[in-house]
Symmetry: D2
Subunit: 356 residues, 4 copies
């Protein structure tokens, strides 16, 4: 594992949206990657970034990006060998394939390819070896490049909280109820009239994603295919009036049942896969355990580990499944742009991008 000799030029596709903006923020002063191009939909292409994008985070778009021309999402227009995709699913399917076909590494946050059997769905600290699926993908599709995906935001937060326990105790059954931040729906996203002082107990396709993606991420790669983990999952997904930070209530049953103390010890000791521990964006602790009775909370914990850590609290006995707890993570950083960034760093560190 090693750092690249020179900073690698990268681009962001879908750069004007909420996740695209998070990519831009996280790529500021990145030691390995140099953000040289921003691309977006036809509506934005050809404009200066500052005119095309309404910056929704704190402060303003970095000056170096603000003055840049927005390119079309087309491998003919974008030259960087690595592209981060924050594209909407309505266009990601074709665009990402075009980039992979053109020999680029597409590190995507879009849902389109996540469940394809030859596409890695990776949380860097959890299942880095799944990246080997790239070989299969290239063979199957005749691509010189590749597509690597990360999971849906709530799934990543849940999987990080569960991986340390699954590794030791094997998950059997899982109930999760999410309380998800509005930024998960992008911008403009959730109308204020729908969520001010309200809860919306429905997020389209979210429960399905949690139920399928978690099993793939915690599955095992062998002979060029991932066997999904076999645990059962049931999810309830809710939108709440929070800006950033998905809170997830978890009740879990394991093959070997850990006590709450066992679980706290396992969570606290976990550092994730060796490969992922020293990446530029790796948090010291991918999972942080809190013993405070009323934590984690979005407002107080969302930026733990620079937004890359998941905070787990209220680890306690569950009357039915043995163990319950609450996990919370930054949906835009840990659950989207930051997850993709870690995946790209991992690809570089493992030498999988050599030759680009």
């Amino acid at each position: 594992m090693s750092a690249p000799r020179d900073r690698i030029p990268v681009a962001v596709l879908g750069a004007t949206g909420a996740v695209g903006q998070a990519f831009i923020r996280l790529l500021q002063d990145h030691p390995w990657f140099d953000l040289v191009e921003v691309a977006a939909s036809e509506r934005s292409a050809g404009k200066r970034y500052r005119d095309a994008a309404r910056w929704i985070g704190e402060g303003n778009a970095p000056e170096s990006i603000a003055s840049r021309m927005v390119l079309a999402c087309d491998p003919a227009a974008v030259s960087a060998p690595i592209v981060f995709s924050a594209l909407d699913s309505s266009v990601a399917g074709e665009a990402e394939a075009a980039f992979a076909r053109a020999g680029r590494f597409v590190v995507s946050n879009a849902k389109n390819y996540r469940m394809e059997r030859d596409v890695p769905l990776v949380v860097a600290e959890v299942n880095p070896t799944h990246l080997d699926l790239i070989e299969v993908q290239r063979k199957n599709r005749g691509w010189k490049g590749a597509i690597v995906t990360n999971g849906n935001c709530s799934t990543i937060v849940a999987v990080l909280a569960l991986a340390p326990l699954h590794e030791r105790y094997r998950l059997k059954r899982l109930f999760v109820t999410t309380l998800q931040a509005v930024s998960g729906a992008g911008y403009p996203g959730v109308p204020s009239l729908d969520i001010l002082g309200n809860v919306v107990p429905f997020i389209r396709e979210e429960e399905e994603k949690l139920e399928t993606e978690s099993r793939k991420m915690l599955g095992v790669l062998s002979n060029g295919a991932v066997s999904d983990a076999s645990f059962g999952v049931s999810a309830h997904c809710n939108r709440v009036a929070v800006e950033n930070g998905h809170t997830i209530c978890i009740s879990a049953e394991f093959e070997t049942q850990p006590s709450p103390e066992d679980a706290i010890a396992a969570l606290g000791a976990w550092r994730g896969a060796e490969d992922a521990r020293t990446l530029p964006s790796s948090p010291a602790h991918p999972v942080i355990v809190t013993l405070d009775e009323d934590r984690p909370q979005p407002r107080r914990d969302v930026n733990a580990g620079g937004g890359h850590s998941v905070v787990v609290g209220r680890v306690r006995k569950d009357a039915l499944f043995g163990l319950k707890m609450v996990a919370m993570g930054h949906n835009v950083v840990r659950g989207a742009a930051g997850a993709a960034l870690l995946n790209a760093e991992l690809l570089v560190a493992r030498g999988m991008m050599n030759g680009l």
Copy 2:
């Protein structure tokens, strides 16, 4: 069953707090009850109600109450034969016993006596026969009056959504995750700095109440004692930035498993116990089923049935337990003051207050 000939004088104990104010609002122009006295803590006693209470709902305290003198919470100071108790649990224990000893009917929202084996814990539409425990209570304690309680706010909402199904299919195991409104914590209650844009995944004692009270309410009275229902329960309780309306995500396993269609039919057809259908405050439908994919929602459904109905939606298959759904109800009306009021109306209708 019959209406009283004359309006019965009633009092509210703890009249200055959030639930006390709800009693006052619901007792305005009540056909059977005449609110003649308001009582509160020593700090308030002796002041005009308008000076003692900060009115937290819409508009202002009714003029007839605003000008009234606040009394001490003492049977020597309060003369009404029926007292609604919105007392804080720190004082409810002694005060309510004193009133019962003095021959009054105490219809209480406080938690102190709920789990006492000789005290009825009643949702009018669900387990009205439990009121017969009053006889046992009087014998045990030598009281001429009695204490009747209703459940904790989130428990009542959950129990109403589950009773129609439990009656037909027998509950076996139950996961509930709540998203609870700030009014459930009273006034001043939750500091704004704790909840604006936030979720707090902890409410003291709430999970325990949900787990114990639900089994008592759905239990069976025979031979002067309630045998708790035997289903297993696991609860996760969260506070969210909602003013009124607790949302509850439910996954339920039954002895005989209903399909979602069966469940919808059972919920839609349910009218609750015969006795409770024609009380002055009875909603036409104690449970309302919505087929909208993103309902119920506090902002849109909290006042269904005047706040007395629980709205149930998203009734669907659960991969683990067979059935999942979302219930939402007004925590201050259906879950507190309105529940107590229905209990009092039921006592009158069943003739149990004759002789007062």
Copy 3:
């Protein structure tokens, strides 16, 4: 002045939007008007209302409307003699003219014609006589019908609070700062990411509307033209995280300076123009004065007078201009649909719609 013998058929244009929905709610069981048609943009026309509109208020669209087919906004498709217009300004200009040309009364909440010199801009209780401009309008334009408008939502609230004082003391200079609810921007309107826990100190064109419309409404009609009132106005407009209810801080200088006590007396005694006092939707008190030190508040006062009253509080000395106070009113009811409805009722009561 008299009620119509039979209910008059009316239509709502732009019926699927936020103000359109408010018209539908307010027209439920209206004694004079019978809502027989709903019309909206091409995207919605031809669908059932329940499929075309996302109902954003409490509960659901009235069943009688939900099942109705949405018509095109075209006098050929809509037959009612009175149409309430909640159209977006991008289409209101042409559509409203087409209806007026076709002989219909257009009672409009759109901004397009408000400042036209031959179009009445009316708050029923304040300047009902401006309706006489209709004659001029018809002559000028050769229309058989007419367009009558109400002001912008924040302007109406401010004007109602000021009219009782202007009538007696003559406004000279006026500072207003608004804190406006998100519903004023319609649906989907303000994205939640822009307003949760935030203030946006800008609402496009709002300050200009406040400055121009207030002078026209408080102007004097003579010889077929309105002379605008001559006071100076400066406005600051802000969006805040409130669902309904615009709060307006006012500092006002008058020709004859009233003391706070004078102002309170004048505001409290005011009932508005005689003509407007007994309309079906007239509140008993168009302006309500509160003496509570921390009122009016949207959450507690927005539904005063069924949403048709403006609540004024904190009437006190202003160090620079003599008088300051806070006004608050329901922007969707008093400031939009309810204002138009009162205008329509006034037209009927004054016999101006005879012959329709």
Copy 4:
């Protein structure tokens, strides 16, 4: 001006409250000051800080403070020569005097001494010379120590936005309307039921403070006394559902009227008093001008300059007073703890603490 040779030991009085916590955060790793003691009310004294204080910001109290014993607010218990006071006004009067009498420098955020004629009320960048009042104070009161105060949070924000203009154009009359964050009321402070989805148009004493303190801060010190600036002020103060960041709408009239362009240039060029430019906590720009039409906003601008900068936007013509604009600043940092910290740094830099 010079840095101290060794870090100076300092204490925080009222360390468990909201402003006390902000002092602790800002004093972490401070180059000049070493936080060695935390003191609070009797209720907290004698406990570990972590048990006495509910940490309300992000993350947790710094470990070095969390484990420290809380002292009583008494010069006999606290030894540091400089004490930052975040005391409640109910106790600040006596406690601060006791510390000053005992020879300590009290740098206070409390309101008690602000308007005393011999107590400096200072914004470091605006009126640093007012610190010379200390000599008068010591003579008058026979103290070896001294009390230095900063203004009320909204006043500081307004004064910073106005100082650059007042210096050049002389303020004549001023209207300000504030939209203030809940953190300004401390913790627990504003109950959530009062502010969720609401505006409260009243903050006790706030308008008075804005009107009096702003004139003192912009006043001139000569012959040992401050002559208040003579401009007229009228303020409207409102509480809104924002966590941090007071927004202030300003209409201002000057002796010499600047155009908006003049004002923007003056604001943009301003760096504050020479003395205050190179303090450890000085922001590069005490005032930042934004040209975005809808800024400043709390959510996007509150942390500008680490929370020490005030952001001014919407600088435009005012129809009545010539100039209007919107200022926004972090009420806890710029408006409270950070303002006091700058004052302490200034005292050190000017050598006024030599001999301590």
